[in-house]
């Protein structure tokens, strides 16, 4: 991660009246990248989803400041930004863990016992589905089908699809991410 540069304000030219606070966030290039996306879409309100995608890629999740910033830049009311951000499963309003495990619960995976994989991971690492461990190491999520039905049951570990999973294999795959006392 780049060193925080306390002196440089994030670009606020798009929302000159009241730029968002950046407290607790490194004032790095990420807002510049976000602004570039916003500019590419000519600040059109229609680009809300695209911009939220970019923002989440940049920051990992969407906090209130980011939502406010995006709303002002695209000239969309805050409640609509919030409504859109919470409608879609992909957007997260809370920080995610350092690592992620997504268990596919699609039909093919269901038929092949994906629920047992989910239960095993939950139990082994004390993490609720769609939650994060208290130490912030692991986020567990479920997917509605990742399209890897031919390899069911499947799970995604830090972005890599793994097929023909078993409860034990899933737990083992996560083990190296976790502190040893678990």
């Amino acid at each position: 991660m780049t060193a925080p540069d306390a002196h440089r304000e994030p670009t606020t030219t798009l929302a000159p009246t009241a730029g968002p606070t950046t407290a607790g966030r490194p004032a790095d290039n990420r807002f510049k990248i976000l602004d570039a996306t916003i500019k590419r879409h000519r600040r059109q309100p229609d680009a809300l989803l695209e911009v939220l995608h970019t923002a989440q890629e940049l920051f990992g999740y969407l906090d209130r400041e980011t939502l406010t910033y995006v709303g002002r830049a695209l000239r969309v009311p805050p409640s609509r930004v919030y409504g859109v951000a919470t409608f879609y499963n992909f957007f997260s309003l809370k920080p995610k863990g350092a690592h992620s495990c997504v268990v596919c619960l699609g039909t093919a995976c269901y038929v092949k016992g994906a629920d047992r994989i989910l239960a095993a991971v939950q139990q082994a690492y004390h993490v609720p589905p769609h939650g994060t461990t208290p130490d912030g190491q692991l986020s567990l999520a479920t997917a509605r089908c990742i399209g890897a039905c031919g390899l069911a049951p499947a799970a995604v570990f830090d972005g890599d699809i793994a097929g023909r999973m078993t409860p034990a294999a899933a737990v083992a795959r996560i083990a190296p991410w976790m502190p040893h006392d678990q």
């Binding site: 609509r80 039909t107 092949k112 089908c145």
Partner: protein, 553 residues
Amino acid sequence: MTSDDLDTVRARERAAFAAAPCRLAVCTAAGCLSSGAGAVRDALERTAADGADSPGLRIIGTGCLGLCHAGPLLRVFRAGAPDVTYAHATPDLAAAVVRQLPDGRLPDERQLPAMHPFFAHQHPVVLENAGRIDCERIEDYVAAGGYAALQQAMTEMKPDDVIREVVASGLRGRGGAGYPTGLKWSTVAKARGAGKFVVCNADEGDPGAFMDRSVLEGDPHRVIEGMAIAGFAVGAEQGYIYVRGEYPLAVSRLRVAIRQAERMDLLGQRILDTPFSFRIDVRIGAGAFVCGEETALIASIEGKRGAPRPRPPYPASFGLWGRPTLINNVETYANIPPIIRSGGAAYARLGTERSKGTKVFALAGAIVNTGLIEVPMGTSLRQIIFDIGGGIPDGRSFKAAQTGGPSGGCIPASHLDLPVDYEALAGIGSIMGSGGLIVMDDRSCMVDVARFFMEFCRDESCGKCIPCRAGTVQMHTLLMRMTTGVAAERDLTLLEQLADMVTRTSLCGLGQTAANPVVSTLRHFRDEYMAHILEHRCPAGVCRMPRAPERAS
């Protein structure tokens, strides 16, 4: 680049193809990649680079070869010799193949039989390029006859001619509902107003379906070409592909393909130096099944909550930003180039009376050969599941085939000989859907299957209309009562009444079909429901019933 220039490229590439007597194709669809196809490809390239004595060898990363469970798949094409396909390929095997190629004696281990039934019974049209082209090289697509249909449309046909061929082909929407594609195209073409749009629905949300993903990953130019032809036919200059966020590989390959097509003047301003201009932008979904519904998809492209709106007005007259909009799904567009190339009449010779052409199915669940297949419409379920799919593994018996995902139904063994087409499936209470086909053996409980799908619909309901929002919740509650053994007979009555009400009164297709899994399992497996309710017993042994009253035994 003009049409003639493109012909030159095609000729050059074909010559280069012919000069390479040997091609090694590694399946680089998401399935095989997750089984280690990347390492196999690396090993091929490393070994080929080491040995100087393999001239004319080409290594390509290709689209889905279909047999996902046996991945990574490696296929060897040699001039004058039959193709050889390896299952579960490893880097070591790959290296051995490259080293032994010059002798013409390939390793025997892990070779699939020459006429493996999985491949023998298929009829690829949409998937014709799978295994043959490198999915990241536009030149490969062009050499395989790609963009010839677009050339033909632009140079020899008028928009009306294109639509006439699509009508003649009898092609119906592959997204599930089966609306005649030609009719849709002519409606949008006739719609008044400038600034029309062409939209490709790649929000393949049915769990158990991955046909569209495979097409986008393996042959993205085919979809782009189909869309460009559609744009030409209906008079649109802008297209959008709305891809599921769950398919990052498809998105990146599409973006690469769009850039390549733009560089060769196959997209953008003045395509092939004609007055026709057409742009395509990719829009990425964010995890909402309901966005597969066309008005919700439009709302989502417009940056809004993916809530459907009442139709009419239909998108064909009032769609994206209020403009006439053509919406088809991936597989529908992928069928367009062959229809234009060989003519609608030729295409219509495939399939059944009312369902023309082929259909791609994703086989999954309790079946030996899981993966992707393409068969002519009218192929029987038995052929699909037992001949191509290899039957049920572990010595279990077939119980049901689920088609159409959460909007579909379960087909029992008594209907295995049914020829699969739109009408036949609808006739037994299921739907064609987008092509997901999940096989269930005797270890699946049909009440629990209904509960599984109802949970899906409950969680994916947008919440706009009451019947779907609250009706799916109550139907799920009732199904939970059954699977936990606390239901009474009146719960079944309530469930059936709700299923009817939600079907008839919901605002959009999600709600209107949400009860289908319940209705179809009740129709074909009512005795299982009764066992849960009257005897507090799960015949398949799936449902645990700790709270159940004393068993009637």
